[in-house]
Amino acid sequence: MQSAPWVTSYLTEHCAADDFATLAGYRRRGGYEAARRAVAEMTPEQVTELVKDAGLQGRGGAGFSTGLKWSFMPKGGDKPKYLVCNADESEPGSFKDRLLLERAPHQMLEGILIGAWATGAEKTFIYVRGEYAQAGRCVQHAIDEAYAAGLLGANLLGSKFSHDVVLMLGAGAYIAGEETGLLESLEGKKAQPRKKPPFPAQHGAFGMPTTVNNVETFSHVPHILRHGAAWFRGFGTEKSPGTTLFGVSGQVRRPGLYELPLGTRLDEIVFQHAGGPLEGRRVKGVIPGGMSMPILPASQLDVPMANESLRERKTMLGTGGVMVLDDTTCMVRTACVIAYFFRDESCGQCTQCREGTGWIHKIVQRIERGAGSPADLDILLDVAGKMEGQTICAFADAAAWPIQGLLRHFRADFEEHVKHGKCPFPQSFEL
């Protein structure tokens, strides 16, 4: 992994410095001042309002207003309240949180501390995916340092406020990244998502009011406290303020992380920052926001990377994982890889998802083998359409959308397979 993004801004400015992951290094650069001020000088409501005014949207995929989410937590009451930091990054094409966990764990912890003050939470569970063992070690070290320095625990920072942080390691399940699937996993169960309502703010971890935020979301918070809402709105678009970490992967010259304002054009990211396609190749399509998000063809990359613009092209920002596919790549093989993943990771609760992901995988494999019929294309769209919006969580939608996107923009690839009874892309990656 690179030690810092190729392009940095406020979030990753100091990531290249090894000591930024230590308490001393973080404090030397002004770390924990924002949390100290929040706890000493601001009411929880003021903090929540500030984050709401800044327009910070969750960076875990859904893009919901963070301040608004915090405001849903009940005030007072005798039940303990919890925060959960979702560090189960597993959306294919996403690798930004890993950098923030390994290189800037105190920045995230400070954001958690501020969120805890705003919501009145007594404890935060940081749920790190099991495969991120190195990230887990970095975060645990940061937690230990913070406790030793009185930044966590009872009467932290010399105040009357107390907050504990617990690190938990997952064990390999994509669906544990879904908010309520994560809560089930946290309780020691299979990570099968819960029906909503009740929403986590009423009935979350262990039945208590809970707010779940992503690693990057928490990491933006200290900067908003430090510089104010107007400053934060100086980055990005009116509806989508701030920077984000775009992770560029696939068939491109300079894959890696890029911290850029939301609203940066996709073609600027792919061609200017990431250097465009490999020698002698052309870009065929780009998945803009992690594998769940529908692909865009090369002709539609002139789009600002913000939800309000991407929605007009029937896709979304997701987790900002930008995957570049070039002209050697077969879109039916691509569909096979995507369909296999969702079939493998479906938790099996809902019929539409459990059966639908299997159907889709079988059909795209059949088409790739050259054994597909013209009707298969319509069956694919029919099955995908019947999965959408019909299940407990958004996983089935995430499984349907990329298939719909591939058929919307690359139907010719599928038709060629059916017509000629074989794959017309001999140079494509093997299955």
Partner: protein, 155 residues
Amino acid sequence: MVISAETRARIDAEAAKYPRRRGALLSALHLVQKDLGHIAPDTAAEIAALFDLHPVEVMEVVSFYNMFFDRPQGRHQVRVCTNLPCSLRGARELLRELEHHLGVEAGGTSADGRITLGHEECLGACAWAPMMRVDDVYHEDLDAAKAKQILDALR
């Protein structure tokens, strides 16, 4: 009793962090698997007793998560990511080379018991593809020669 007293104490320490003891079940399974290599049915029954659960409630958790095993494994877990970003950069070709090198198909264990080889879904190293996870260490920007060298060094 296959779970050591020391591991039991560590499980208790984990359990104290959660409002309900069961919150520490995944941590307990990680700890026990580290000691024993896998979670056999009788081990699951012992863990169930520690959490006041039925053995099947532990086994269903073991079977749900990819990182828990209900049968013996090689001494090292080697997982090549074959998700889309890695596939676009040669991961499947790499996995095939490693299968050939070890004389085992993905999902199997080498005859000397050293290595269980498999593929895995996205590991969050997409820009440094192809890559593999060896136990809890990532190896990125691989080619076949580099990957084989890493495997050969495992004892």
